[in-house]
């Protein structure tokens, strides 16, 4: 048995000084929906838990049409899902956050926790990548920004140094006729981890696609930004054949494994299916705006 200390800093400065003191032995606790399970299973053994929920900067949730959306790293998903501006402008992000756990879990879990857990199968990460979200990271030495697609480096590991914490996400304001979508595949209708997850965000000018970002979950050691797949759509109409071509490009970068959640062959196939589906839905949403 090992002892654990628990701190609940009330300011970002206090949190950063605690972090720089504890280093590798400390671990940020947001909702705890992953961390507590990992501690119980002996996967992570932190000696100090630093509760992120009382840090005001990590609870920011605001939107304006110039700067877009700011989401504090510890904002519980239920707040995000219920926010009218988020619902209106980022339906794909709402879809992803709404897929995580039950109502009880959603009242604890957060976008920041989902990303910092470093799972390749995290549902909100592909949705954030599709939206071009940027992470604002702070330490007692200063701040830096990291694109969400560059944040996870391997299963369970991120770019965060021991003294750094994720403060918030900044998500660009949606351009006119833009929309996003996220879908995952699970064998049951609830209570599962994504076999494959795909996010997409598109911008239309008339019939022509002027921007598109596609992202993949659970098909590589980290969530993937399918840059070429999205770029292939720019300057073209979004129809069955252009969407199928983009889906084929997305399939090319997927390097899935075979495990108890699905075979590599099946996952690759599902990248194609879901990419087509999310692009079709995102295009429909963008046209309706």
């Amino acid at each position: 048995m090992h002892a654990i200390t628990y701190e609940s800093p009330k300011s970002l400065a206090q949190a950063l000084s605690l972090l720089s003191a504890t280093g590798e032995k400390g671990r940020l606790l947001a909702g705890g929906t992953d961390l507590l399970i990992q501690m119980r299973a002996g996967v992570r053994k932190p000696e100090q838990l630093i509760d992120a929920k009382s840090i005001p900067e990590l609870q920011v949730l605001s939107f304006n049409s110039q700067d877009g959306l700011r989401v504090g790293a510890a904002v519980p998903c239920c707040r995000l899902i219920e926010d009218p501006a988020v619902r209106q402008h980022y339906p794909g992000l709402v879809e992803a956050a709404g897929l995580i756990g039950s109502v009880q879990i959603q009242s604890r879990c957060s976008l920041g926790g989902n990303l910092c857990n470093g799972s390749p199968a995290a549902d909100t990460t592909p949705a954030l990548i599709a939206l071009g979200a940027v992470c604002h990271v702070a330490s007692s030495k200063g701040t830096r920004t990291v694109a969400v697609e560059d944040f996870v480096v391997s299963p369970g590991r991120t770019v965060l140094q021991a003294d750094e914490l994720l403060v918030e996400f900044r998500i660009p304001a949606p351009k006119p006729h833009s929309a996003d979508c996220y879908q995952r595949f699970i064998p049951r209708n609830e209570m599962d981890i994504a076999v494959v997850g795909v996010g997409a965000a598109v911008t239309l000018n008339g019939d022509t696609c002027t921007a598109a970002r596609i992202s993949l979950g659970a098909v590589a050691p980290t969530p993937l930004f399918a840059k070429e797949a999205g770029a292939s759509l720019v300057g073209k109409p979004l129809n069955e054949s252009t969407i199928a071509a983009a889906a084929a490009l997305a399939q090319q970068i997927a390097v899935p494994i075979t495990d108890m959640r699905g075979t590599a062959e099946y996952r690759k196939h599902m990248v194609g299916v879901l990419t087509r589906r999310v692009l079709t839905t995102a295009a429909e949403r963008a046209r309706a705006k």
Partner: protein
């Protein structure tokens, strides 16, 4: 629908509130893990990380040195016991194998096999101490596929094992523990007479019962040599018997107190922790509690067998089956004892067959030792036969329900195992489905481009009788207590109370049912085989009749007449020779001290008139052809339930059985990696259906009374799990044109089959 006209029941057939309901919904019911005793220690098991390995050495010194640790046991602490077959539920188990299963000797035979157990002052210290035990293993080649395990060059689990059930004794080392054959008629002639023959092979994986409450045991060993065990079990008498064998204790020196039970489905019919806890208590002189985690439950307790099955059936132009041949190899797990025998008895029993041959093989391999699971062995077998029957009907252009009606077993039909059926209701369940609102309405068209199909399948289960004891005592206020030794996993406390209430002319709520410990009631076999309402209910019926006989004697004493002059009706005694003399049970109960004393009826029975169960199901599915995901849109089960004592609980049993069958069909599987390690050791990745994966399951109760029971009762709990995988496979075929022959029919497999078909 038929009903037993000669009986006009007042309580049986009604839906009173269950006696244990308030305790359960308020959280007051005491389950195994709720037991806590003064000075109690906590035990934890160290388990094998290998699928197959020789144990070269075990060093427990560091664990013993950890403060708070009181004792450590390994295989060396257990007595060597000889072969001894003990009946456990529907099956027999060799106590020597069971002893080796709960604590490895020399070799570990599967991932999760117990290697040592620690007891300490807290569960955390005990867990920490297991990590300090140093075990040196020599890994051995493992085998986990049933066909590979049968080969001559397969890794051998038990060097001394020889195949049983063969005409000639062989001296060859083998993993085939037993073989079974049922045959009659002339198979070649039968197939020669067929217009169509369908032959297919099937594979199914190991699946777990998935009961919510993990296994547990609290044990206290006294200096006088007596031991007490508190445990949630389906069979307190079996726990006493098996623990007695394993620890070489007299049965009378062990008392087993059954706790409330959070699901069993056959999985809680044997022992795992009980002998360990009692031995650790003996070593430390203090009570010991052990509770498994879900990881341990999945890795180390008995699931049911995976299997490889070959089915060949022929039929003539008129749609009559001319011959049937079945070959089945069942995974026993690490020790012999798959349900292959009963699978062979049930697999072809729904059909009237002149020429048949059934071969079965019980095969050991490096997976946990299997235990009973709801109609053991029969769901796998039915997948094979019921989908081949569906294909035969299709090829002959006969409606699949009509095909079953043409060939279905009825009264007088000889079963494959020999005996003729008495009155059964198979054809009635087919007719009930045919006439059901579900089958009568067309399959609604899909509005989202997904593919839909409807399938049917039937199922059979033999049901069990065995031994039961009951007492019915009359309280001073005219209410009654019913005491049995049958743990309640299906609402049987209430069904037993209702049977007593019917006989005594009381209301169900005026009868208090109690499940007693092994020293407070006569021998009662394990809750299993859908036997409790049938057999224990039989004992309750007889015990209540015995109480009525005594009540009549007491009234006769009061009235100074002969007992023959007293009648008992509607909860009152009256005198046939003096019309003025009559007493309600309440009045009579108050006068018992002056009429000869208290009244306790009792009965110990071994009823032979077991009535088997038949069922027919229809299911509508919707398939996403791109993903292979199957949605259950509508499900109806019609079952011959004999006489439904509490129709609400019977419907609940049918719905529960179907839900488990759907899980088995679509997603549940034991997923082992290439090293033989189980990877899905929690409910996240061992995918049982949730309420969002199932529609409301519709039920039709067909009542064809069992002629072997005074009330017409048949077992109802197990057979509903039998048809779902076959019915879903048949529906899937109608939806996408692919015959699935492998369980689970999970999205990757369905997707692959559709892709291959479309080329």
């Amino acid at each position: 629908m038929e009903s037993q006209q000669e009986h006009k029941f007042k309580v049986i057939g009604t839906r009173p509130i269950r006696h244990d309901g308030v305790d359960k919904v308020t959280g007051r019911a005491k389950y195994g893990a709720d037991i806590s005793l003064p000075g109690m220690l906590h035990g934890k098991v160290l388990r094998s990380p290998h699928a197959h390995a020789r144990i070269k050495s075990i060093d427990v010194s560091a664990a013993l040195a950890l403060p708070g640790v009181k004792a450590v046991i390994t295989g060396a602490d257990f007595p060597d016991i000889g072969d001894n077959l003990v009946q456990v539920g529907e099956n027999f188990v060799n106590a020597r194998h069971l002893s080796q299963n709960i604590m490895a000797r020399g070799k570990v035979l599967y991932d999760g096999h117990a290697v040592a157990a620690v007891v300490a002052t807290s569960p955390h210290i005990a867990e920490e101490a297991t990590k300090l035990i140093k075990v040196e293993y020599e890994p051995l080649p493992h085998v986990q596929n049933v066909l590979t395990a049968m080969k001559d060059d397969a890794p051998i689990l038990h060097p001394a094992l020889r195949t049983g059930g063969t005409p000639e004794k062989s001296d060859k080392q083998t993993n085939v523990a037993n073989q079974v054959r049922f045959a009659r008629g002339d198979l070649a002639a039968g197939f020669a007479a067929a217009a169509v023959i369908v032959e297919r092979e099937f594979d199914t994986t190991m699946v777990h019962q998935g009961y919510i409450e993990p296994l547990n045991a609290v044990a206290q060993y006294n200096q006088d040599g007596h031991g007490t065990i508190w445990v949630s079990t389906q069979g307190p008498f079996a726990v006493r018997e098996l623990t007695g064998h394993i620890l070489q204790m007299n049965r009378g020196d062990i008392k087993v107190i059954p706790a409330e039970i959070g699901g069993g489905f056959g999985g809680k019919t044997t022992v795992y922790l009980e002998p360990l806890a009692l031995l650790l208590s003996k070593k430390t002189g203090r009570p010991v509690k052990m509770v498994m985690t879900r990881n341990e439950v999945l890795r180390a307790t008995g699931p049911t067998s995976g299997s490889h099955i070959r089915v060949k059936i022929g039929a003539n132009k008129e749609g009559k089956i001319t011959a049937a041949q079945v070959w089945m190899a069942y995974e026993a797990g690490a020790f012999p004892g798959s349900p292959i025998g009963v699978a062979c008895m049930t697999v072809l029993a729904p059909y009237d067959l002149e020429h048949l041959q059934i071969d079965g093989f019980d095969v050991v391999l490096n997976k946990p030792k299997t235990a009973a699971y709801r109609a053991p062995g029969t769901t796998n077998a039915a997948l094979g036969v019921e989908t081949v029957v569906d294909e035969l009907a299709e090829k002959l252009g006969v409606d699949p329900l009509e095909f079953r009606r043409l060939n279905g077993a009825q009264e007088g039909t000889a079963q494959p195992a020999g005996p003729q059926f008495r009155r059964i209701g198979f054809l009635e369940t087919i007719a009930a489905i045919k006439n059901s609102p579900h089958y009568q309405s067309p399959l609604p068209k899909s509005e989202n481009g997904k593919l839909r199909g409807r399938g049917v399948a039937s199922g059979f289960w033999i049901n069990a009788g065995f031994q039961s004891t009951a007492t019915v005592s009359i309280n001073t206020d005219g209410t009654a207590n019913v005491v049995t030794g049958s743990p309640d996993i299906g609402g049987t406390r209430t069904s037993c109370a209702m049977i007593a209430a019917e006989v005594l002319g009381l209301k169900a709520e005026d009868v208090h049912p109690v499940v007693a410990d092994t020293e407070s009631i006569g021998h009662t076999d394990t809750t299993g085989g859908s036997r409790v309402t049938f057999a224990t209910g039989y004992a309750v019926y007889e015990a209540a009749q015995d109480a009525v006989r005594q009540l009549k004697e007491r009234a006769a004493t009061l009235w100074k007449v002969k007992p023959e002059e007293v009648v008992y009706q509607d909860g009152a005694v009256s005198c046939t020779t003096n019309g003025n003399e009559s007493l309600t049970l309440i009045q009579l109960a108050g006068r018992l001290p002056r009429a000869g004393g208290p009244v306790t009826g009792r009965a110990s029975v071994q009823p032979r008139g077991v009535g088997p169960a038949f069922t027919t199901h229809v299911v509508d599915v919707e398939v996403d052809a791109e993903t292979g995901k199957v949605e259950i849109l509508r499900y109806t089960a019609a079952q011959d339930v004999g006489k439904a004592v509490h129709p609400g609980y019977v419907e609940g049993q049918i719905q529960g059985g179907v839900a488990q069958g759907v899980g088995w069909a679509l997603n549940e599987e034991y997923y082992y990696d290439e090293n033989g390690i189980l990877r899905n050791t929690g409910f996240l990745d061992y995918r049982m259906p949730t309420c969002l994966d199932l529609p409301m399951i519709e039920t039709i109760l067909v009542e064809v009374p069992n002629p072997g029971h005074p009330i017409g009762i048949r077992g109802v709990g197990e057979v509903p799990i039998v048809p779902p995988p076959a019915a879903i496979a048949n529906a899937l075929y109608r939806a996408v044109g692919v015959r699935m022959t492998e369980l689970p029919m999970s999205p990757p497999k369905v997707c692959k089959a559709i892709t291959e078909k479309r080329g």
